[in-house]
């Protein structure tokens, strides 16, 4: 079987090589070829041997880490749907419903995003980057399940072209492309990503069939508006609540965090400092607030509601758009957590502060790094002076 695939590719290779009939597609062919088999390239510089890890492996680790919240999201989507419409569904039916609803989003995300990636690689004559395999998986997970597919397609196109390709592709971008897609939807089509009816599958279209008194509001909105019946800490920690597809279950996200930290793909410093920042501002607000207001809401609950946990684990830690220096990572993470809670407390228009906090700090990360690196340069200059 393996030999068969390799032989097939050898046979097709001349057609797709420069000068061949489909030579203009060589980047795409290379992408598939290197996907199927690690290429036979050998080292050419002074480093004669190399570690067997590559970007494909790193990205695969992120995908694996994303599976717990993804699987939970499938069940949760089905569970909330059956609760909203008074259906008596079993476990597998709920999972099936979630799968049936998320599949089109994933497909659209990958087809549009990878399509653009391949086209750009083709035009530039580069190899196709693996980065979008993660981004394309992340984007549906941070969208409401009812987001229209055409809006999603536009968001993906915007994120890939303006978030990544104009900077030169994966590794060169300033902002996290997945969050940029979400920000695009938020600013361009706010009604598809805000309000109380977008978070439960089918709720917008079939509002008449809802059971009486069902609210599709996210806990964050419920608490901020002082509405009754907001879920408690444990329920939010487990994640059986309304929200974007993948963001609701803190426990599943923690599982992913363990994988990311263990494999060393994401920085634990950013995650820890992010939590510290949120708690610091939250506790400060708790201390100053009058009882009964949103500011008095227990700080620790901020960690399990909305997109905080998902953002802190999967988004803030994006190695390209985050801070690059170890000291910088502490500052960067802390500010994300702090700004997120500040936005939640003081921005009644849009309570979910995580997206904007991360994008803002993505913008600031190079500045933080500049300050950290500047210290290193000073140290080196000072050393030279004292030596003389």
């Amino acid at each position: 079987m393996g030999n068969f695939i390799l032989k097939m590719m050898d046979k097709m290779k001349p057609t797709f090589s420069k000068g061949g009939k489909l030579g203009w597609l060589h980047s795409s062919f290379d992408a598939f070829e290197s996907f199927a088999a690690v290429p036979a390239t050998v080292t050419s510089g002074r480093t004669q041997i190399k570690d067997c890890v590559d970007i494909k492996r790193v990205m695969s680790a992120v995908i694996v880490a994303l599976l717990p919240p993804f699987l939970f999201g499938m069940w949760n989507t089905g569970d909330l749907h059956s609760a909203a419409f008074g259906l008596d569904w079993g476990f597998w039916m709920k999972v099936w419903y979630g799968f049936y609803r998320i599949l089109p989003l994933i497909l659209v995300s990958y087809i549009v995003g990878l399509g653009i990636e391949f086209a750009v690689a083709q035009v530039r004559g580069h190899e196709v980057n693996e980065g979008y395999l993660v981004t394309g998986f992340l984007i549906p997970m941070i969208m409401p399940i009812d987001v229209p597919l055409w809006v999603l397609a536009l968001a993906v196109a915007f994120a890939v072209i303006f978030g990544k390709e104009i900077f030169g592709g994966t590794g060169m971008n300033i902002w996290n492309p997945a969050l940029l897609a979400r920000a695009f939807v938020f600013f361009a089509y706010p009604s598809t990503i805000t309000g109380d009816s977008v978070w439960i599958g089918g709720m917008g279209k079939h509002a008449d069939k809802l059971i009486d008194g069902f609210s599709g509001a996210t806990p964050l909105a419920q608490v901020a508006d002082g509405a009754a019946g907001a879920p408690d800490f444990m329920q939010m920690f487990i994640g059986n609540i309304a929200g974007s597809f993948g963001e609701t279950s803190t426990i599943a996200i923690l599982l992913g965090a363990v994988i990311l930290i263990w494999t060393g793909v994401a920085s634990w410093k950013i995650m820890v400092s992010c939590v510290a920042g949120a708690l610091a501002v939250g506790l400060l607000a708790n201390g100053c607030a009058e009882p009964g207001t949103f500011a008095a809401y227990p700080a620790v609950n901020h960690l399990v509601m909305g997109g905080f946990a998902f953002g802190a684990v999967y988004m803030a830690t994006d190695p390209v758009s985050s801070s690059q220096t170890e000291v910088g990572k502490w500052i960067y993470g802390f500010l994300i957590g702090a700004i997120c809670v500040i936005l939640r407390l003081f921005n009644p228009g849009y309570r979910e502060g995580m997206m904007l906090a991360i994008l803002l700090m993505n913008t600031m990360a190079p500045l933080i790094d500049w300050c950290v690196v500047r210290r290193n340069i000073r140290r080196r200059e000072k050393r030279a002076v004292t030596a003389k």
Partner: protein, 460 residues
């Protein structure tokens, strides 16, 4: 003795460590001196084909610095002058005599009483000056300068490296003479850095009148650049000289006996060597004669592909791929026989377990058997990408440097930034491990060398 502990680094365990036995003293059919062994040297030929030369006789000099010349390691007849494109001098090939005849130099009776100029002159006259490498840039030292220190690494921590406990154990007296003489050339100290693992077992620990420091930690603890950054970091305008133990011994022999004797023990290592062990030969010895002594596993099939042998002069992380027809490099005391990784591994990157391959990444499971020795091959294991993952290089670079910033400054050809980020402190070998573990497969050593070349061009 002070101990400096380095917490960052990586020891790569490979199959084919050299047994501590000397197989034979080689009598190669041909010995070659290659200008490319010496960085930044433009050769001016001083001999012709058919000339009879002695060991220690000049073969070519450096056009830019004519006082620096390069000698024949053996006596014999110049067999061929090998030239490449645009008549570039590639090698001077010599057919050695059965019995080596040496050029006679006046021995320096008491190096501690000799002046700096006398010692410099003797080293320049014999061609052994080329042993002294300066930092920054890793080029041959400028005799007109006085370095702020001379640093000698008494151990090599690279994978499968030759063990100085074995290679120079009988050369303590010669090395003592050399350090006594070299200490005249600097205002500062002569540092000798010993592995904490070896400590008193290291022959260089017996040297007197030097500043000894123990270094504890994984590779690159033995890299002299890393050691310098902890002992006497180099700023703009400062120079430190470095030497290797086997060259120290050669200088000692020159000063005491008056001969250019660069004979050394060379570790022949690597997974493709049948009987990895030491041989005695001079630099420039043909690889053919070296591998004949240890035997080479000619056939190896990986993933259904016949894989040839790669002949590396030096260690697997910073050596040079010289080929079977190549020669041992001037500064090298190791030859590594690796497997060419020209195979395709089906869905290699997606396999959960890849027991034949080593990775520092926890996405694989090499960490389960930390002592296992691997059969390394030369497959790149992926395609080249931009800088994506951050914080990985820092784990194997025990220096106060931000490697990615330095590399980006070099790529942008920004001289000022390169200075600020520490281009004076590094050469390629110091960052070899960064290149080894880089998941983006960026050719870091090449970038660093490009940066150094740019600095030399701009500063000239």
């Amino acid at each position: 003795m002070e101990t400096i502990r380095l917490r960052k680094g990586l020891d790569i365990h490979l199959q084919g460590e050299a047994q501590k036995t000397i197989l034979q003293t080689l009598a190669p059919e041909v010995v070659a001196v290659r200008p490319s062994d010496y960085k930044q040297v433009t050769p001016k030929l001083l001999v012709q084909e058919g000339d009879v030369v002695k060991a220690g006789q000049f073969l070519f000099s450096d056009k830019k610095r004519p006082e620096i010349c390069f000698s024949s390691p053996v006596s014999g007849t110049v067999k061929a002058i090998v030239r490449g494109e645009k008549r570039k001098l590639l090698a001077v090939e010599i057919t050695p005599d059965a019995q080596t005849e040496y050029v006679k130099f006046e021995p320096v009776k008491e190096p501690s009483k000799a002046t700096a100029d006398e010692i410099k002159k003797r080293l320049l006259d014999s061609g052994l000056w080329a042993c002294i490498i300066q930092r920054p840039y890793g080029i041959i030292a400028n005799p007109a300068e006085t370095p702020k220190a001379i640093v000698i690494s008494a151990f090599n921590s690279a994978p499968l490296a030759a063990d100085t406990k074995f290679t120079v154990k009988n050369d303590v007296d010669a090395m003592q003479i050399a350090v006594d003489a070299l200490s005249k050339l600097t205002d500062g100290k002569v540092y000798v850095n010993i592995s904490a693992k070896d400590d008193n077992a290291c022959p260089l620990s017996m040297l007197r009148n030097v500043e000894k420091t123990l270094f504890k930690g994984k590779h690159p603890a033995g890299c002299v650049g890393v050691q310098i950054s902890h002992l006497c970091p180099i700023g703009k305008g400062e120079v430190v000289w470095t030497l290797k133990p086997q060259d120290l011994a050669a200088i000692g022999r020159l000063l005491s006996k008056g001969i250019y004797d660069v004979m050394r023990l060379v570790a022949v290592t690597g997974p493709r060597a049948i009987n990895p062990a030491y041989v005695r030969c001079t630099p420039g010895c043909s690889i053919e004669s070296i591998v004949k002594a240890v035997g080479v596993k000619e056939e190896e099939t990986l993933y259904g592909q016949e894989c040839g042998v790669r002949y590396v002069s030096g260690n697997p992380l910073s050596g040079e791929n010289v080929g079977r027809g190549g020669y041992l490099g001037f500064y090298d005391d190791q030859v590594t026989l690796l497997t060419e990784g020209n195979y395709r591994e089906l869905f290699g990157w997606a396999k959960i377990f890849r027991p034949k391959k080593f990775s520092t990444s926890k996405t694989y499971f090499s960490w389960l058997c930390p002592k296992k020795a691997y059969k390394a091959d030369t497959n790149v294991n992926g395609g080249e990408r931009a800088f994506i993952v951050n914080g990985v290089y820092e784990k194997v670079l025990p220096m106060d440097i931000y490697p990615v910033y330095l590399l980006k400054a070099i790529l942008a050809q920004d001289i000022e930034k390169m200075e600020q980020f520490g281009i004076y402190e590094v050469i390629g070998e110091d960052l070899a491990l960064c290149e080894y573990i880089c998941p983006s497969k960026i050719e870091i050593q090449k970038i660093v060398e490009d940066g150094i070349n740019l600095m030399l061009k701009e500063m000239a």
